[in-house]
Each structure stands twice: as structure tokens, then as C-alpha cells.
């Protein structure tokens, strides 16, 4: 179930040299941190792993997930979850429907799906908030709901793009603990981009430093 990046290189449109070359192995339950100055290509690395590169970006090397080569697969077929700085809950759906959107289609039947959503909300401290407009949630509530939405899709790996940087200092530690606890429970490999050394320390996994000249 590990995530393996094998000589992964991304070249920007109209550039002749790759932005970086990365080889990395993340074991199940491990959180690897990617650090480095702005503009070095940290988010681009996540895009390459998740399959979200914009047209024109060229990608070489391999991404293996649980022994399967996913490099050529579209994003939706990779089973790699993605969390942004903002929660990015869909504004037109209620909180419950946001989670139902994430919930794997393998869970069948209206009653079973509703129960799965209710359980997830409860675990996020949002019990009974199915009908709420996501805009009315606090920052921490939104972040927890977004994590639940991602985990309900039953991902085989997770990408975190500076997931705590928008939160207040107090909330940050709490959300970090909440996130890492859920990840540990799932036992899936995680790749996290961060600016905050405390994130990397808390993650306690391998640290990859991207520098302007490549890794």
C-alpha cells in the first residue's frame, strides 16, 4: 500500500529543463513532508502525483501506488485524495451533501449512505449538521468536514497542500492532531507540502527538501 515516486520529473510549458526530479518512498501510515521556498514546484509535485497537471506540463518518471503504476491514469482513477489550503467545500451543496459527494459509491442504499455521512459528521464533531450551509461553518469545522469528505471516498493515498496554513495558531495544532490521527487509523501513505517546520516535526516522517536546482 506504499506510495513510490520514481525519478518523477515535471517540465513547465516552454521550459527546456525539468523543474525537479524526485524519488521517494512513503510507507502506509507515514506522512512525508515536502519543503522548500515558494515557486520551487512543491504544488506542481502534488499535481503530478495526483494527476492534476494543467495541459502543457510534461511529466516523466513513474508514480506507484500499492504496487500499481498510476502514472498514466486520469486523476479520478488514481484513488489519491487531495486537500487544499482552503476546505473547498462545494458552496451549492449542504454540509451533508458535500460528504455524500465524497462517500464511495461502494456504499449502497439511501439509508446506509445517510448513516455513513452521519457517522463521519459525528467523528468530526459536527453531529446533526447535515443540512447546514458550508458557508456558516467556522474555519475549523470546515477543515474537519473537508477531511471527512476526502476520507469517505476511501483513498489509497492522500496529498495535503499546506493544509493548516490558513488556520489560526491555536486551531492549527488541534487540526494537525485530528488529521494525523485519522490518517494513522487509515494506514495510508501521505505526501504533505508545508512551509511550517512544526508540521514536518509533527508528521514525523521523511522530509524532502526541494531546492531551486532540483532535489
Amino acid at each position: 500500500m506504499s506510495l513510490v515516486l520514481e525519478k518523477l520529473m515535471v517540465t513547465l510549458p516552454r521550459a527546456d529543463r525539468p523543474l525537479f526530479e524526485v524519488s521517494l518512498r512513503v510507507e502506509p501510515g507515514q506522512v512525508a513532508s515536502v519543503m522548500g521556498p515558494s515557486g520551487v514546484g512543491k504544488s506542481t509535485l502534488l499535481d503530478a502525483v495526483g494527476g492534476h497537471l494543467a495541459p502543457g506540463f510534461r511529466c516523466a518518471g513513474r508514480v506507484w501506488l500499492a504496487g500499481r503504476d498510476v502514472t498514466a491514469l486520469p486523476a479520478e482513477a488514481r484513488r489519491i485524495g487531495l486537500m487544499f489550503q482552503e476546505a473547498l467545500l462545494f458552496p451549492h451543496l449542504s454540509v451533508g451533501d458535500n460528504l455524500a459527494f465524497g462517500l464511495s459509491p461502494a456504499v449502497r442504499g439511501r439509508a446506509a449512505r445517510r448513516a455513513a455521512v452521519a457517522t463521519a459528521l459525528e467523528r468530526a464533531g459536527l453531529a446533526g449538521m447535515e443540512g447546514r450551509d458550508p458557508a456558516t461553518l467556522s474555519g475549523g469545522q470546515r477543515a474537519r468536514a473537508a477531511l471527512m469528505r476526502t476520507l469517505l471516498a476511501d483513498p489509497a493515498a492522500l496529498l495535503l497542500d499546506e493544509p493548516f496554513s490558513r488556520l489560526d495558531t491555536g486551531l492549527r495544532a488541534e487540526m494537525r492532531a485530528f488529521t494525523f490521527a485519522h490518517i494513522a487509523e487509515r494506514g495510508i501513505p501521505v505526501l504533505m507540502v508545508t512551509h511550517d517546520p512544526e508540521d514536518a516535526t509533527a508528521a514525523a516522517g521523511p522530509v524532502l527538501r526541494l531546492s531551486a536546482k532540483g532535489a
Binding site: 494543467a54 479520478e76 484513488r79 485524495g81 459509491p105 456504499v107 449512505r113 445517510r114 471516498a153
Partner: protein, 563 residues
Amino acid sequence: MSDGRGLRGLVLLVVGTGLLVPILAGLAETAAAAFGHLPALGFDGWSLTAWQALAAEPGLTTSLRLTLVIGLGATALSVVLAMGAVAALAGRVPAARGMRALAPFLAVPHAAMAIGLAFLLAPSGWIARGLAPMMGWVLPPGLASVNDPWGLALILGLLVKEVPFLMLVTWSALGQIDAARQMAAGRALGYAPAAVWVKVLLPQLWPLVRLPVAVALAYALSVVDMAIILGPSNPPVLAVALTRWFFDPDPARILPAAAGALVQAGIVALGLALLCGAERLARWLGRRWVQAGGRRAFGPGLAAVLVGGLLTLAALALLALAVWSLAWRWSFPQLLPESWSLKFWLASGRWGAALGMTLWLAMASTALSVALAILWLEAEDRGQRTRARWAEALIYLPLILPQIAFLYGLNVVALRAGLSGHPGAVIWGQAIFVFPYVMIALTAPWRALDPRLTRAAAALGAGPWRRLVRVKLPVLLRPILTAAAIGVAVSVAQYLPTLFLGAGRVATLTTEAVTLSSSSDRRVVAVYASLQALVPFVAYALAALLPAWVHRNRRDLAGAVPA
């Protein structure tokens, strides 16, 4: 600032007397005639004669059925194709480039496009000529491929004009929502891009495109010029039947026409109600589908291919106009003319007056509309207020009400004022429809202007008028000219306002082209239709080139020189 209030009052007064009052008065006069009150023809008092006459019209039920099937069908198809094509193209084609490629199809007036399509589709048209060798045709096949009794040619014509419009609207709305990251979020949860479109992006886009869709629907339900050229002829769609009756040599037929005009308004109201109903149903079904978590959907690729086909047809239609206008001898089944001639272009005595009138009407109605739009937006700025819903509704009102429902009554008012048949009345009638488009086109760029520029000017002691004339207008020159070019395109395309308020005496390229389309020499029609299509193109070209020249030493304002 009291200045803002005075300006706002002035703008409201002008919009009220120039736009709202005429529409309401026109509706009232039409309604009066529909209930038998038409003193000019000796019908005094109230009666249901008009409705009885309408009910007795042969073919009325067919006309009603055609109107509904064509209008609803064409709009539903346009919406699905436009959204599907944008879904397939967005993210692959840069928005600016895509929208630039669509602009020419929007600029071409409906009548010119319809005539070009007729040249393609007719039994002796280009498509039949292309198929002739394979089918062994030596004579045009006996098919009703234009003016067919089902209205298929008309539906195609409406698609060719409405799909690019709705694509443009959808594509620019896409820039207002966080589409790229929501797409990534949806795909990371295992959803195919098409499914993310339907479940995530479309529900957020819909409120932004609902009004333009309503405009397209109202248009498709009440179209006249395209329907005369491409639509079923006997019986035609309701709006065409009404136009015939209004201009019938027997003035008594105005009565059933007036009653029918109210029915036409009712049909548009019904169409809008159906749109609301469909929206609710889609929202309910969509929620169920979201909750069920289905990851798959399909369609954008197919829509993009179909739209590609439509745009190819449109381009060929325009080419057909040019080729026919230059043809001399061109017998079936030759693919190209056997001999060419400039004769019809050189006979400017025929089309010169119509071109001159078209240009004069376009410039006057556009100038009025642009001036009013600028004053309106400036008044909003000075009042520091956002636009109220009723004001937004007022802008869209002329685009949603069927023209024929109030133009007859409006002309009655103009007759009483001694204005009917005068170009001034036509300018006014066109401006009612030009102003909304200019206003819509100018609003977004006006609001996007960096407010620090005017604050800086104010801090330097410039008063409100000086800030408007010396800072805002020059900086906004490009969008203002683009809005003006759109205004010209809208004015050139107007058929019914020119017909009614000109009392048949003001001849423009459009009225001439529509009149000639059924009977006359294709080569003559082609010249009128080509000219009609060229005027908006020239306007767009000037709108692109003038700012580039004026601001040639101002890199931030000159913009990219158009290719």
C-alpha cells in the same frame, strides 16, 4: 454627494420615458386592440371580436404547436450543446482564445446567417450540389430542406446563433467561480470530469447564465426574421403569422393580430415558467444524484463534436453568401459558379440607400445607448450602490418581452405623435433593444476598473466630471468601443422595430434582405446579406484597432493587436 443623486434622477427619467413607458404604452395599446378598442379603424368600445377572429384563423393550432416545439426544442438543445462544449473545451483551450473564436458567429445578424444557411440547405444549395455526383442528381432534389413543415431548418438556424451566445456566456461565467480547483477536488474524490461538471460546476454556473438562457428562450419563441427565411411557411410560427396579419392590406386583421400578440406574450411567459420548473426538477434530481455518489457521466465530447459541426455549417453559410454575391452563371449541380461578376456589388444604386440608412440608424441608436449606459454606470459609482434587482430586471425587460407584443402598440403611440415612419422613431425603437446589450457588455469591465485610479485623481483635486472624462473614459476606451460594436451589431440585426416604427417606409439592409429572401434573385439577396454581415465585422475591427492606435504609446492600455 448631491451630484450623484441628480445624475441618478436624470438617468432614471431617461430610461423611464425612453424605455419603460414606451413598452408599457405599447403593451396597453396592443391589449386595447385585442379587446376590440381601435378607434382609428372605427372599432370603439370593448368586444371579443378580435379573439373570435383569432380563433377562426386557419392553421392557428399548428402555428402554436410549431412555436412551442421549435422554441423550446431549439433552446433546450442550445443549452445542452453549449454547456457540453464548454465543459469539453474549458481547461484545454484558454478562455480568451475560445471566446475570440466565437465572436464572429455572434456578430453576424440573424437574417444574414439564415440566408446563408438557406443557400447551404436548399434543394439547389451547396450541400445538395456536393452530394449530387454521388446521388446522381442532375436537377435539384424535390425535398423541402428549407421552410420544411416541421421547422427543422429553423431549429438549426436558431442553434447556429444561440449556441455561440450561450457558450460565450457560460465561458465567461466560468471565470467567476473557482472552477479549476473544484475540478481537481472533484476528480481527487474519484469523479470523471463530466460528472464534476454536472454535479459541481453547473449548479454554480446556472444562476450566472439563467437570464441569458431566458433571453435565448424568449427569442426562440418569438423569432420573426429567421423564421420567415428558414421556418415553415404555411402555416408559419405564430410570430410570423402575426407580422403578416399586422401588415395585411385588410386593416381589420389587426384585431386578430393584436389578440395573437397577447397570446405570444403568454407563450413566452409559459416558456419562462417551464424553465423555472425544469430548474427545480433538475435541482431535485441533481441532489438525489449527488447523494447517491455516482462517479460517471458522459457527453461533453459528443457535444463538442456537434458544436464543431454547427460552427462549420455557420462558416460555410457565410462563405456561401460571399460566393453567391460574386456569382454570375451558376447552374445545378456545379459546385462553384461557372462565371463570376461584380455586377451586383457595383450596382450600388440598389443597396447604397439601404446601407446608408442602416449605418445612420446603427450609429445613432448606439451613440444614444452608450451615452446612457455610461451615465447609468457613473450614477451607480457616485451613489456607491450596487444595482437593485428591479433595475437589473428593467435592463433585461426588452430582451425577454416578445417584440411583437408591444411594437404594434408602440407604433400606434408613434402615429399619434406624428413620428411613425420617421427614421427618428426607428432609432428610438432600435435603441430600446440596443441599450440592454450595451449595458450588459459594459457593466463588468466598468466595475473591474481599479478604484484607486479615480481615488488618486480625486486626491489631486479632480471633481467627479473631470474624473469621468479624463480618467475613467480613456482607461475604459476599449470596453466602451467593444460595447459600441455590440450595439452596432444589435442595431443592424433589428427587423421588427424597423418594420413597425418605420411603417414599412424605412428600408435597411435587414428589411430588404428579409423581403428579398423568398422571391428574388439569390445573387442580389447575397449582396444585401453580405453587407449586413460586414457592417458588424467592421464595427468590431474598429473597436479592436482604435484603442490600439489611440493608446499606441501606452502598453497597459493598447492591448494585444488583433490578428
